[in-house]
Point group: C2
């Protein structure tokens, strides 16, 4: 039996949210207010980073934001980059900004992140924002977790009292998701189990899950036999695997064996077109929020 009614369409949802943001921007501007303004700093010529940043800038245009892309040579000094961050912190025309990671090795990423004014940290990477998230205070949520929360919310997926099993304990997805899914909130109130490379029997844990969040970066790690009938599956992985039939010689797969798990899932996100498109939406939502409170 082929089912498609249980696929969470991240691309369509992202477009819907972008339309909502665009409508809000129109209202702002019609009241004589300045449109939200996002700046992005890109250091060096990493093709993946260039493509991410370009997509962020394009999304800004789509919703009527102003955007500024600041490109710097790969050999920029840490001091110069800190100076630039300081300028953006002080620039009242810019509501939020991001420094695209990874940075060249001679630059301390955490030092740069710590230098960003938390009220402009729309990536949600500054420890103050991470801490506020953990304390349940208002803050900028990091892009991927915020996107997942949006998905669960918009698809009206019940989370309260459910058992959520997270695979992977990274700082940018697994750990923040474990905090968000357990907090007292509309999307939240789950019993959360956080699993990782040291977990002894991941299959046993996953089979208990009402909601699976896979963020381990390993292609097709979650297989059908690890999934309970009726589980909600959120696949955060984006992995390239060789495919001689594909144009570029590879195709993208998630951390979940999508085809096999699809028929068991109450809801499942595809890769690509699932969590991915939602991350840019999160950035836009954070920038709009920064504009409102600036």
């Amino acid at each position: 039996m082929i089912r498609n009614d249980n696929i969470i369409d991240g691309k369509a949802l992202s477009n819907t949210i972008k339309e909502e943001i665009a409508a809000e921007v129109k209202v702002l501007v019609s009241h004589g207010e300045r449109a939200p303004h996002l700046a992005a700093i890109l250091v060096g010529e990493n093709p993946a980073s260039q493509s991410y940043v370009r997509s962020k800038v394009r999304s800004c245009e789509q919703v009527g934001f102003q955007s500024t892309l600041i490109q710097k040579e790969v050999d920029i000094t840490e001091a110069k980059l800190l100076e630039l961050v300081d300028q953006l912190n002080k620039n009242e025309e810019i509501d939020g900004f991001i420094v695209q990671l990874p940075l060249p090795k001679h630059i301390d990423e955490m030092k740069i992140t710590m230098a960003i004014d938390p009220s402009k940290d729309v990536d949600g990477f500054h420890p103050v924002n991470v801490g506020k998230m953990s304390l349940g205070l208002d803050c900028f949520l990091p892009a991927t977790p915020y996107g997942i929360v949006q998905m669960l919310d918009r698809y009206k997926i019940e989370t309260s009292g459910k058992h959520c099993v997270i695979v992977g304990r990274s700082n940018i997805v697994g750990t923040p998701m474990s905090i968000l899914m357990s907090r007292k909130a509309k999307v939240g109130n789950c019993t959360v189990t956080l699993t990782h490379s040291r977990t002894k029997n991941i299959k046993t844990e996953l089979l208990r899950a009402d909601i699976i969040i896979a963020a381990i970066g390993y292609p097709n790690f979650v297989t059908e036999d690890m999934v309970k009938q009726g589980a909600v599956i959120i696949d955060v992985g984006i992995n390239r695997i060789e495919d001689s039939e594909a144009k570029r010689g590879y195709r993208l797969v998630g951390d979940v064996d999508f085809e096999a798990c699809k028929n068991k899932a109450l809801y499942i996100t595809p890769v690509p077109g699932g969590v991915g498109p939602m991350t840019v939406t999160s950035l836009l939502m954070n920038t709009l929020k920064a504009r409102k409170f600036s």
Copy 2:
């Protein structure tokens, strides 16, 4: 069968650590350095707060720290209290300080906490410290979680690959413990399940635990039938229950039915004399650390 060899003696361990700290202070002072200096702000006349603060000051004396107790009337304005915090931030003779909670209702506790210089925040309550903990960066850990980590470490309790079930999702114990027990660290690397009031079957979760951390504030909540043979049980609760035979008319019990669970446990903490005495030790360790990096 009566067993006592599996009881984690928090009081004795706390004294051992105090002796180690006192020895370090002696070395510092013998090198002509200033002893660590902790200040505590106490607002109002809450008897429990007075007793906590007094015990903290006494512990400072025991280990050779300087201490300063600043008492303020219950009607101090928020502005005045912020001014005082600012003075302590700037005072180079003071390495760390705490503002004893709870504060009177006319004062915004988070505003006060946010005003403390994170490098002097030896309570580990500032969002920057909470965020750094979540990101696995060096920081001041909050007292109770730090005390528990110390206990597990000093008793050489293996945590890697174990299943740790936490009861309660508070900002000061449950949530930070879930982060600490899952991180990649000597005490850590657990598969962690965080349970709370919305968890559907806490017994089922607890029966799977190699390590139980109970921090829910409900007397004798964890009963023998919820505990697996050989589990390690850390009891964070301190609850008063009426006892007509006790001098004060009450006695202290934990969140765990100690007598019933003791014989099943590989290790168990008593109440009182378990986690409690470790929290002051954590504060001293944080203050010593603040002195070293000041």
